[in-house]
Amino acid sequence: MNFVITVLTLTVRFSAALLIASLGEMFNQRSGIFNLGCEGIMCMGAFMGMLIPFSYAGAEAVPFYINLLGLLGGLASGIVLGLFFGLIVITFRAPQGIAGIGLQMLGVGIAGTLFRSYIGGTQSISGISSFDIPLLSQIPVVGKIFFTHNPIVYIAYLMVPLASYIIFKTPWGMKVRAVGTNPRAADSLGINVNRIRYQALATGGAMAGLAGAFLTLCQAKMFNADIISGRGFIAVALVYFGHWKPSRIMFGAILFTFAQTLQTQIQIFVPSFKYYEFLNMLPYVLVIAVLAISRESNKLGPSALGKPFNREMRT
């Protein structure tokens, strides 16, 4: 029982970063741009999340607003990188896949270099800690699983309905969907395709940066250059997995994190288990398996994904 509760609690906690990043990536993809550089943006965000509180007080406890500033710093660095990516793939129309890989290396590279020159080696920070919500956390089992987390975790889950509302109900969301599916049609109605795509990239970048800062400030409470360890790429995959719908993306994020947590906990609880590589592999196999068997028409997805827009070019 304890094992189960631990796994579920950690699932809720650890899924937050993945969830925020993949919701952000959904905005990118809905507008027709897939940003493989998500990993790099997250890494940069994670570094900002370290840098700001650390330069204020090192490993000492810092006032809450400094940590908040760390999160905002991550978010801001994400916006900058998102817009930079836009410059490359929207304005210069570079192939998105290649540019995305470049952005990933750039983000990880810059963060790693700055980390070495400003901070030096592994240092920990106090970060933002989890707290128990009064009363609710007292509920047996459920209380522990759902109500003993960091405030950012709740914000991550609140983002799901919010993102859903924004993409399906607001004028901006409608325009994002239109430019990602038939940019020519959007253009013919006077919508500035490239501006909307820049805005979507800024949004997606902000969320990826925030997710990264969350990892350092709330989860690891330290930074190193491979802190993201593939979450950015998983986020891209989850968007496909979730067919560009926030609720299904959330489901994917939970499923993946659950498998991930389960396997690490098994390794902890059963240290004698020899084939741990097999366990490491498990979450990824699971995602691939679900992707393979979930057959659904792509009629509802952004069909102009990956294609730069040029008004005067046919095809």
């Binding site: 109900k169 004028p171 239109a178 599916t181 020519r184 049609a185 006077g190 009629k299 069909s303 005067e312």
Partner: protein
């Protein structure tokens, strides 16, 4: 910028020139449209009609020339500028987002329904209702675009333009995918609307031009070669001016054909995309050297029939026999090798690969045949020669055979497909709406080619909604209705009236 309420009493284009790489699409065009006028713009495929209209909409920037509205020069940099002046356009290639509803598609253009936190869909719904009622155009606001037939999409496109409050309408081939009845209704509607607004109307069907417009301008190779009042010229005059020679659509006058059966379909059952039975125990046969026309309102199983013959759709019962062999549920490749050619309805997605060159598209079906390929290498020189030859024979208007096929004008894309399919010398040809969007000269040419094929002993299944086309070419005409052949008529018995009645689902005229 114009005041919202201002009527456009005069739109004048002066010396508009527009070049694309390798093509002069508009060559020093000057035109003028006055109050409540309907200007018909006609011309061959690739003459530059769509390009000129896109310039008026601010989608393309002219290389030189100017546009005046009510005597004032305007600079139309984006479609928004054109909307602000009150210009609206129904595009030849529908400008709709398939994964959104009709409502949302229209909301995309209606800036007054964009509230900060929410799209005011109620406002849009009311506007659609108002427009549908005023003009008698019914659309289902909650349907997704991908669920609609091509004809319905055309209607949505029209309603959209009207909802956005256009006071000057540009219609680029608005009738190409409508049924004859819908076309007639639209013409009546446009006539009524022309009392309060000016219209530019593009069409290849000269009866429509004659019925609707009061002025006509003919474009050829990007230049205006003729302008005049419609009433003073007969349609055949206009056709002659347009193509440079007198157009006479060829007719099949040969006696009924006695050849052997080429294609026999027995009790064919096929499901549609939406899951219902699109073909319900359909049977028909076509002989060698015979053209069998399939008449019917689109959506009665034509698409499924063509796709199941060509192996693109699984059948759920019955047999399709071609030259003695059953071919149902075989791979498209097998069926192509069996000698069956196909001219599909969706030319951009099924007929060509838009990003590949004309040359490559022409050899697409035979790239591994020894004609074009030796030891796994393509015979580039021979292929280029061959493609060049087809380009000239089929009069494909393009900068060269290495241009991407997708950059051609709609009619010229069709010619690429026809050139490939006809010159491959099929034993049997399935032909779906072959002249949709083609200019008269091209239609005449294609019809000649089809009759030549027939003469050389090839059987042709011709699916079309144009009764004239069917009656001109077919030896027999089968009328399809709800997935079944209603009745098959010999050419001599087929009249517009008898076909129309059968197409409406009435089997026996006495029932009327």
């Amino acid at each position: 910028m114009q005041n919202e309420k201002d009527q456009i009493t005069n739109l004048r284009l002066e010396h508009i020139t527009k070049r694309f790489p390798g093509v002069l699409a508009c060559d020093d065009i000057s035109l003028e449209i006055g109050k409540s006028e309907v200007l018909a713009l006609v011309g061959e495929n690739g003459a530059g009609k769509t390009t000129l209209m896109n310039i008026i909409m601010g989608l393309y920037q002219p290389d030189s020339g100017s546009i005046f509205i009510n005597g004032q020069e305007v600079h139309l940099k984006t479609p928004n500028d054109a909307f602000d002046c009150g210009i609206g356009m129904v595009h030849q290639q529908y400008m709709l987002v398939p994964n959104m509803t009709v409502l949302e598609n229209i909301a995309l253009g209606m800036k007054d329904c964009w509230k900060t936190a929410k799209v005011d869909l109620k406002l849009v719904r009311d506007r659609i209702k108002e427009v549908s009622e005023k003009y008698g155009l019914a659309v289902d606001p909650d349907a997704f675009i991908w669920q609609l037939s091509v004809g319905e999409q055309q209607r949505v496109e029209l309603v959209k333009t009207l909802c956005l409050g256009a006071r000057f309408l540009i219609l680029d081939e608005p009738t190409s995918a409508l049924t004859p009845q819908e076309t007639d209704e639209l013409i009546v509607l446009l006539k009524r609307m022309s009392e309060e607004l000016s219209i530019i109307f593009i069409s290849h069907k000269l009866q429509e031009v004659a019925a609707l417009s009061n002025k006509v301008a003919i474009l050829r190779h990007g230049a205006v070669v003729f302008q005049g009042n419609t009433a003073e010229h007969s349609t055949s005059d206009i056709a002659a001016l347009m193509t440079g020679h007198e157009v006479k659509l060829p007719e099949n006058t040969e006696p009924p054909c006695q050849g052997e059966d080429a294609l026999v379909i027995k009790d064919l059952c096929v499901k549609s995309d939406r899951g219902f039975m699109a073909l319900d125990h359909l049977s028909l046969s076509v002989r060698n050297g015979e053209i069998l026309g399939i008449a019917g309102v689109s959506g009665n199983g034509q698409r499924e029939l063509a796709e199941s013959i060509t192996g693109l759709r699984r059948t759920s019962g019955g047999t399709i026999t071609a030259f003695g062999d059953e071919i149902q549920n075989h791979t498209p490749n097998h069926i192509i090798r069996h000698g069956i050619g196909y001219i599909p309805e969706e030319r951009n997605t099924e007929g060509i690969v838009p990003s590949m060159s004309i040359k490559e598209n022409i050899i697409l079906k035979d790239s591994s045949q020894s004609r074009f390929c030796s030891h796994t290498f393509l015979k580039q020189k021979y292929i280029a020669q061959y493609a060049e030859n087809l380009r000239q024979r089929f009069d494909i208007r393009c900068p060269g055979i290495n241009t991407a096929a997708g950059s051609l004008s709609g009619g010229n894309i069709q010619k690429v497909i026809l050139a490939r399919e006809i010159d491959r010398k099929p034993r049997f040809l399935v032909c779906v709406y072959p002249i949709r969007g083609l200019d008269l000269g091209a239609a005449e040419f294609i019809h000649k080619k089809l009759l030549e094929l027939r003469k050389s002993g090839v059987g042709v299944l011709l699916i079309s909604e144009e009764l004239d086309e069917l009656m001109n070419l077919s030896d027999r005409i089968a009328v399809i209705f709800k997935g079944q052949i209603q009745k098959t008529l010999d050419r001599k018995d087929a009249t517009r009236r008898s076909l129309g009645i059968l197409m409406a689902g009435v089997k026996d005229e006495k029932q009327l």
